[in-house]
Symmetry: C2
Subunit: 251 residues, 2 copies
C-alpha cells in the first residue's frame, strides 16, 4: 500500500453555515475521526487570518466542547517540529493566499504532506484549509492579497476544490462573473483538472482511496471538456482519486 | 513636467452594465478622449479571455458604431511593435491573472507604460483591463487560474482598484467573505495602499495629475487604518495621485 492510501481527510467547504454554530454540522464526522485515532490534541494552523491568537481562542472554544485540546502552531518556537509531533492537523479558513504563502515561508509543505500521507494523521480543513489540501489554489475565491511562491498546494488529493460554492443568483443584475463562469475559465487552461464545487454545509471525507461526499447539499463537479454534474450527498467520489495525475495510490 | 503628467486614462469598472449595451454608459467620455487625440484606430488587447478572435469581433462591433477601427494585438506578428505604434490602447475584461500573465509573457509591460505615461496616448481599461492599469492586481475578484510572474501591474496610477465593486447583500445567508471583508484583508498587509471600489457603471477619468470619479454611482474608497468612505460621482480624486509611492508627478 503506497503512502496516499493511509490519508484521513475531512475537507469542509466552510466552518460557518447559516443556522449552525461553527463546524456544528460536521461535528459527528470530526469526532468519529479524532476518536478513532485516539487524538487528544489538535494542531491548529491559523495562518489564513491576521489575528492568530483570536483565531486560536475561537477554535479552542469549539474543540474544547468536544473534549479536545487545541495547540496553535504559531505558539511553537519550531512550527516544523510541531507538525512532526502533531496527532491531527486542522487548518482553518480565511485568505487562501496568505495561508499558502505562510506555509511556504515556514517550509511546512513537505512536513504536512509526510504526516498526512505517510503517517496517516487526520487532516481537517475548512474553506482556505480545504483549498490548500488540494492540488493547487487555482480555484480559490479569495483575493490575492499576497503573492506565494507557487499556487501548488499540499496535494493531499489530486484535484481542485472550490469551497463556498455558490449557485448563480438568477435575480442579480450584477455583471461580474458567476462562480461557474470563473471555474469554467480555469478549465480552459491546459493543465486544469477536475474541480469539485462544495456548497456550504458539505464536505468530502477521504479515507485512503475512498472519497465520500457528505453534508446537507449536493456538490457540483466540473471536468475539462465535460458538462458540469451534480452529485448528491452520500455519493462515492473515489473516482476523483483514481484520476491521480501525480501519484497512483493502489492497494 | 514628469512623464506621468501626460497620462490620459479611462479606468472603467466593467463594460457591461444592466440595461445598457456594452460601454454605452461611458461612450461620451470614450469618444471625447479619442477625438481629442485624433485617434482613428484603437489597439485592443483581448488577453483576458480565451477566444481572442470572438472578443476582437465583439469589440469591433462597439467601436465601429462610433467610427473607430479596432486592431487586435494578437493579429500582429510583433505585439511589442503594435504597442509602439498604437494611437490608443483598450484592454478589455475577463480573467485578470490570465491577462497580466500574457502581458508579462509577451514582455509588453514596459512598452505600454512608456506609450501611456511618456507618450500620452489614451488608455482605456475595463474590469481586468482596469485592474492591470493600477499598482497591482492584489484586489482583483478573479480566480487565480494561472500564475503570473508577479502581481505588480502597469502602475499607470499608484493605488489599487476593485472593479465590479459590490455592496454586501444583507439578505444573503452565504458565509463567504463580502467584497468589503476581502478588501479589508488586503489592507491588513504591510505594503497595502488605497483601494478604490468602483461599482458597475462608474469609472475614473485620469488626466495627468487630475482624477475625477464619473458614472452612475458613488465609489467606495478603502485606505489602511481608516474607515471606508463614499465618494459621489463627480468627485475630485486627484489626492489619490498625490499619494504616489512610486514616482512623484509634479508640475
Amino acid at each position: 500500500m503506497s503512502a496516499r492510501c493511509v490519508r484521513q481527510l475531512l475537507l469542509i467547504s466552510s466552518s460557518r453555515l447559516d443556522g449552525y454554530e461553527p463546524l456544528e454540522f460536521v461535528a459527528n464526522d470530526i469526532n468519529t475521526l479524532l476518536k478513532k485515532n485516539n487524538v487528544s490534541t489538535v494542531l491548529f494552523v491559523p495562518y489564513a487570518l491576521k489575528d492568530y491568537d483570536t483565531y486560536l481562542s475561537n477554535t479552542k472554544n469549539i474543540f474544547s466542547k468536544w473534549g479536545y485540546e487545541v495547540e496553535g502552531i504559531h505558539k511553537s518556537a519550531n512550527p516544523l517540529q510541531a507538525v512532526r509531533n502533531a496527532q491531527a492537523i486542522f487548518i482553518g479558513g480565511g485568505n487562501t493566499f496568505r495561508l499558502l504563502k505562510t506555509l511556504y515561508d515556514n517550509q511546512l509543505i513537505d512536513a504536512i504532506q509526510k504526516r498526512v500521507l505517510q503517517d496517516g494523521i487526520p487532516y481537517l480543513g475548512s474553506s482556505a484549509g480545504t483549498n490548500v489540501a488540494t492540488r493547487s489554489i487555482h480555484t480559490t475565491n479569495d483575493m490575492p492579497i499576497v503573492f506565494p511562491k507557487s499556487l501548488q498546494a499540499l496535494e493531499l488529493v489530486p484535484f481542485n476544490i472550490n469551497p463556498h460554492y455558490l449557485d448563480p443568483d438568477t435575480n442579480s443584475t450584477h455583471k461580474g462573473e458567476t462562480r461557474e463562469e470563473r471555474i469554467v475559465q480555469y478549465l480552459e487552461e491546459a493543465d486544469a483538472g477536475p474541480v469539485l464545487g462544495l456548497r456550504e454545509g458539505t464536505w468530502l471525507h477521504v479515507e485512503g482511496i475512498k472519497a465520500t461526499l457528505k453534508g446537507l447539499h449536493a456538490a457540483r463537479l466540473f471536468i475539462p471538456k465535460k458538462d458540469a454534474m451534480e452529485y448528491e450527498s452520500g455519493s462515492d467520489m473515489s473516482f476523483l482519486l483514481d484520476n491521480d495525475w501525480i501519484h497512483k495510490c493502489k492497494q
